[in-house]
């Protein structure tokens, strides 16, 4: 016969709940993206939150570099995850989750560019120079810095602006390859283009960027 628990003895229930939650969280962190997505289909909020934590910075980077507007990129990043949630039952495990979410992000970024073109009445989609002069990425810290750091900051800013001036088809492959480290195969799946086209576009994008940046790099102290 087990003794009755007295009022003075602490209940184990809250500690057990904490332990269970800790185990769940550690299990989630070890789970693959695809396993987490399966759990999301079964309406696991924790699994979805883990996916958000894993991908929010990557998605923000892609969209921000693509459209050159950090504030708007934040809104679109949230929109990407809302679409993942709402359409989660459409996800097929045969494909990588990263490919799926990056595809959503790139499509939203493209739509945003088209929207800006319509609003600004600039005809060519690739002519983004004027539109982005007011929407280019702002560095978070505008305080006084040493000259060397200022030069670096200017160069980084110049690189970002040069990326924005590339035609969209070159910009997107550059962002996915050199800023997101995606493979050629995955880039091809996201953009719906063959691997050979991915390679040639990346090469041309890099060459175009080189032409724009070499003068600035020389001024910044680079020697070739």
């Amino acid at each position: 016969m087990t003794p009755d628990r007295t009022r003075d003895e602490p209940s184990d229930a809250p500690n057990e709940a904490v332990e269970r939650r800790a185990k769940t969280i550690s299990h989630l962190k070890l789970s693959s993206d695809e396993d987490l997505m399966e759990a999301c289909v079964e309406d696991s909020e924790e699994a979805f939150q883990e996916l958000v934590n894993r991908y929010k910075s990557r998605i923000l980077n892609i969209i921000s570099r693509y459209i050159g507007d950090r504030e708007r990129a934040r809104d679109l990043t949230q929109e990407v995850f809302m679409r993942v949630f709402i359409h989660r039952r459409r996800y097929r495990r045969s494909g990588k989750f990263s490919t799926w979410i990056y595809t959503i992000a790139v499509n939203l970024a493209k739509n945003e560019i088209r929207r800006k073109v319509r609003l600004s009445k600039v005809v060519p989609v690739d002519t983004v120079t004027e539109m982005n002069e007011s929407g280019t990425l702002q560095l978070t810290d505008e305080g006084p810095v040493a000259d060397a750091q200022l030069a670096t900051r200017d160069l980084s800013q110049t690189v970002r602006e040069a990326i924005m001036k590339l035609p969209a088809k070159y910009r997107e492959v550059l962002i996915l390859r050199d800023l997101q480290d995606l493979s050629y195969i995955e880039i091809g799946e996201i953009l719906g283009i063959p691997g050979g086209t991915v390679r040639s576009r990346i090469n041309r994008a890099r060459l175009a960027l080189k032409e724009k940046l070499t003068p600035y790099m020389r001024r910044s102290g680079y020697e070739f």
């Binding site: 958000v52 934590n53 998605i59 080189k210 940046l213 070739f224």
Partner: protein, 174 residues
């Protein structure tokens, strides 16, 4: 090899994806041309600069905002399983509508033609049955059949004469 051909191989050379022959050919070309070598170094430095750009980190509150939006969407029923059922229902509505219209038309056709066999429209002991086609246009009631005590339209749209149940012999009227 010329400069234009060499530039096409820069990315492959940088990432170690050229074939052995292409690699040797480009390496020899760069070694033989200082201008080309400088051009390739600019290319390499550009890619390194690109890759060294600081990555933006999304703020912690972005996760909170997203989860809040998800919970609100769930409360509104967005992305909930019933949504799928609603879609299925929407797909079934046109089919159901067509079936209903089919039944309505069939029913109308049947009742307009007098029915498949007149249903038991019974008044007392009398029942109305279809007059055989041989008696079309006449008021003859076939032997063995009785009429209801009320006037009714036969299926040929001619009024039937009222007959007492069994007391009056039917007569032929032309």
């Amino acid at each position: 090899m010329n400069s234009k051909d060499a530039r096409k191989l820069y990315s492959g050379y940088l990432e170690g994806e050229l074939s052995a022959d292409e690699d040797d050919e480009l390496r020899s070309f760069l070694a033989a041309s200082p201008a080309a070598a400088a051009d390739y170094r600019q290319f390499e430095a550009t890619v390194e600069l690109l890759r060294s750009l600081p990555r933006e980190e999304a703020a912690d509150d972005m996760t909170l905002d997203i989860m809040s939006r998800v919970r609100r969407a769930r409360a509104r029923g967005e992305g909930v399983r019933v949504g799928r059922e609603r879609r299925r229902l929407k797909q079934l509505v046109p089919l159901a509508t067509m079936l209903m219209l089919g039944f309505v038309f069939a029913f109308a056709a049947i009742t307009a033609g007098g029915g498949l066999g007149s249903s038991g429209d019974v008044a007392g002991d009398a029942t109305v049955t279809d007059a055989p086609k041989a008696f079309a246009g006449t008021d003859i009631v076939p032997e063995g059949h009785a009429l209801s005590e009320t006037f009714e339209q036969n299926r040929y749209d001619r009024p039937l004469r009222q007959v007492d149940s069994g007391t009056e012999s039917p007569s032929i009227v032309f």
